[in-house]
């Protein structure tokens, strides 16, 4: 392996290890995870788990539920270890596949790749990969599957590649709705000149997409229509009934807003979850440094991409643009940063492409100095944002730790406290294990950290 590539891989390993450590410091979460774990315990088998929710909800995520069951069964009672190990495996796979897209050969490539690494981990959509797990993080899993598909588009064309790509597509679609991004990325890669997946393979994938569309929008149509989520709208956050009251159902200026807001959040780190938090903070007369850092780093990087795009006839950014657009359209019902997490990965890949092109151009001294200043400013911002992932994980660990404190009382109030003794014993065991984990109280965290690093905006 050439020294530049080896150096970048070593740096990525350190970043990934640091984040993995944060994951291990965070207890298994209560919300959106405990019910899943209890269901896994009650389920008689993996197939029963796989089929348990089909047709009953608006979501088609049977693979995630089956995985939760498999991990539960193989854990031997060490649930924390099993679910966290799986999360970390996915995280490492995401890092490895991301680096695989960069093809680092020279020190110029290595410099651009280091910049892209901090974009990858620093962009707020990355937090969707690590802040939560349900107990399997389906956003991260879909990102890994999309990256595998893109990797396959660069393989030598043969039948096995097409079959594998279609299996990846099916797995992604059965994990999360965003799984259709595998098809988007595969088709965009073909348009960008990558022919690893054959025409036949793409036709089969398109047919599978049609089947998925029928299942999702015909068979599950009543459930899909009933979907409702809170979302941002300019400076405010609206809950589902408010959205219904103000905009009705179906296509409206709210759905158009969601699509545009979702594109903007990847390119400019604004708005967040549909809320223009920077402008809102401005109007209140106090913009924390983290907002300046987020917006400046993203805007400068997007401008660098635009500059490279205007100077290059390369079709590489096509995959990013396709994934960005598709993810944004998928966000029509509500703006949620996590939905844009795959687009965030490809934004970082495009950042590599753009920076590499720009620093390789022959430039006069003033232009080179100007570019260096922009790179340092953007790079510093991304670096702070990447380090801030640890801060977010620490804050999340505290929040999750507190959630466990009110179990079982909160479950009794909601009427979800299980009737059977074995499930009760499972919950109590999980609670005791989670509470025993040492957590950092925010009181020990310097005040400036909350203003500099990422936080909860709502």
């Amino acid at each position: 392996m050439p020294a530049p590539r080896l150096s970048v891989y070593a740096c990525a390993a350190l970043l990934a290890a640091s984040i993995a450590y944060g994951l291990l410091r965070m207890p298994l979460q209560v919300h959106d995870a405990l019910d899943e774990i209890m269901a896994a315990q009650r389920s008689p088998g993996v197939w029963a788990s796989f089929t348990s929710t089909l047709g009953e909800t608006a979501y088609v995520r049977p693979l995630r539920i089956a995985e939760t069951k498999i991990l539960f069964d193989v854990s031997g009672g060490h649930y924390f270890a099993a679910y966290k190990t799986f999360h970390i495996v996915l995280l490492v796979a995401a890092f490895a596949l991301f680096l695989g897209e960069l093809s680092v050969q020279t020190w110029t490539d290595a410099a651009a790749a280091l910049f892209a690494l901090t974009v990858f981990t620093g962009l707020h959509t990355f937090l969707g990969f690590v802040r939560e797990a349900f107990p399997v993080n389906h956003f991260l899993q879909v990102a890994v599957l999309v990256l595998i598909a893109v990797r396959l588009t660069r393989a030598r064309p043969r039948a096995a590649v097409g079959v594998t790509a279609n299996l990846v597509f099916v797995a992604a679609c059965l994990t999360l709705e965003s799984g259709i991004l595998v098809w988007v990325a595969a088709v965009a890669s073909r348009l960008a000149g990558r022919r690893g997946i054959s025409d036949r393979g793409l036709v089969v994938m398109t047919a599978l997409l049609a089947v998925y569309g029928v299942v999702r929008f015909v068979w599950l149509a009543p459930n899909v229509e009933a979907m409702a989520n809170a979302s941002g709208y300019f400076f405010e956050r609206l809950d589902a009934p408010q959205i219904q009251e103000r905009f009705g159902s179906g296509l409206s200026r709210f759905t158009v807003y969601n699509v545009l807001a979702s594109i903007a959040t990847v390119l400019f780190s604004e708005p967040r979850g549909g809320v223009f938090v920077f402008a809102r903070a401005w109007s209140m007369g106090d913009i924390p440094p983290r907002m300046w850092i987020n917006v400046a780093a993203s805007t400068l990087t997007t401008l660098l991409m635009l500059g490279a795009f205007l100077r290059s006839r390369d079709r590489q950014p096509l995959v990013f643009l396709a994934v960005l657009l598709a993810s944004a359209v998928a966000s029509f019902a509500y703006a949620k940063d996590e939905i844009m997490s795959v687009a965030g990965v490809f934004y970082a890949i495009s950042a590599y492409w753009a920076v590499r092109i720009l620093i390789m151009r022959p430039l006069r001294a003033p232009a080179a100095v100007a570019l260096a200043v922009v790179l340092v400013a953007a790079g510093a911002g991304w670096s702070i944002r990447a380090i801030g992932v640890n801060h977010v994980l620490r804050a999340q660990a505290f929040a999750v730790h507190n959630d466990w404190a009110v179990v079982p009382e909160a479950m009794e109030r909601r009427g979800t406290w299980p009737a059977d003794a074995s499930t009760r014993s499972l919950v109590v065991g999980l609670r005791d294990e989670s509470l025993a984990r040492p957590i950092v109280n925010p009181w020990f965290v310097p005040r400036w950290a909350d203003r500099v690093f990422e936080g909860d905006y709502y």
Binding site: C11, L14, L15, A17, S18, I19, Y21, G22, R25, E101, L102, S103, V104, Q105, T106, W107, T108, A111, A112, L114, F115, T118, G122, Q316, I349, Y352, R356, I359, M360, P362, L363, A368, L371, A372, L375, V376, G379, W382, S383, I384, A386, I387, N390, H391, R394, F398, H401, N402, W404, A405, V406, E409, S434, L435, I439, V440, N441, P442, W443, F444
Partner: protein, 159 residues
């Protein structure tokens, strides 16, 4: 895969440095975290400190409150507070929760063994009124003793 051809010869070192150095700072901090863990030292991001039960109650650390009580800490005893938590050197957990205006913490403590007699309830109630936290006052009202009066005459707050 992006970037198949080399270009080091044509790239100005200044640009390489501008591109890589900020990222290397993040990598160095990550390396410090990993190395600290490897040698058994808590990484700086994860360094906190032990809390007393009253400190945990004041600092909305519900998880730590439950853990400490389960470990044998007395929810009705006075516990020391380090400077900067509240303007007192020691308080009971309930006093700390009221002083920090944490209604949910009052409820949690009551669920986990904290007790108030008539005089104690009156003292806490007056303290809560003094802080102006209506939700804490309302929470305390749920635990009001049948014969307790709400007069604050002669009652002085803990701080």
């Amino acid at each position: 895969m992006i970037g198949q051809s080399g270009g080091s010869e044509r790239t100005r070192p200044t640009l390489l440095i501008a591109c890589a150095v900020p990222a290397l700072v993040a990598v160095a901090i990550s390396a410090f975290t990993v190395l600290s863990t490897a040698v058994g030292v808590l990484p700086s991001f994860w360094r906190g400190g032990p809390l007393t039960l009253s400190e945990a109650a004041a600092l909305r650390d519900q998880g730590e409150v439950v853990r400490l009580i389960a470990s044998g800490a007395d929810p009705n005893a006075m516990h020391p507070l380090r400077p900067g938590v509240l303007a007192a050197s020691s308080l009971t957990p309930l006093e700390a929760a009221v002083g920090a205006r944490r209604a949910e913490m009052v409820e949690l403590l009551m669920l986990h063994g904290a007790k108030v007699d008539e005089a104690g309830w009156r003292r806490l109630h007056c303290f809560a009124l003094g802080t102006g936290a209506a939700d804490v006052v309302a929470m305390l009202d749920r635990y009001r003793q049948a014969n307790a009066t709400s007069s604050c005459e002669g009652i002085s707050p803990p701080f």
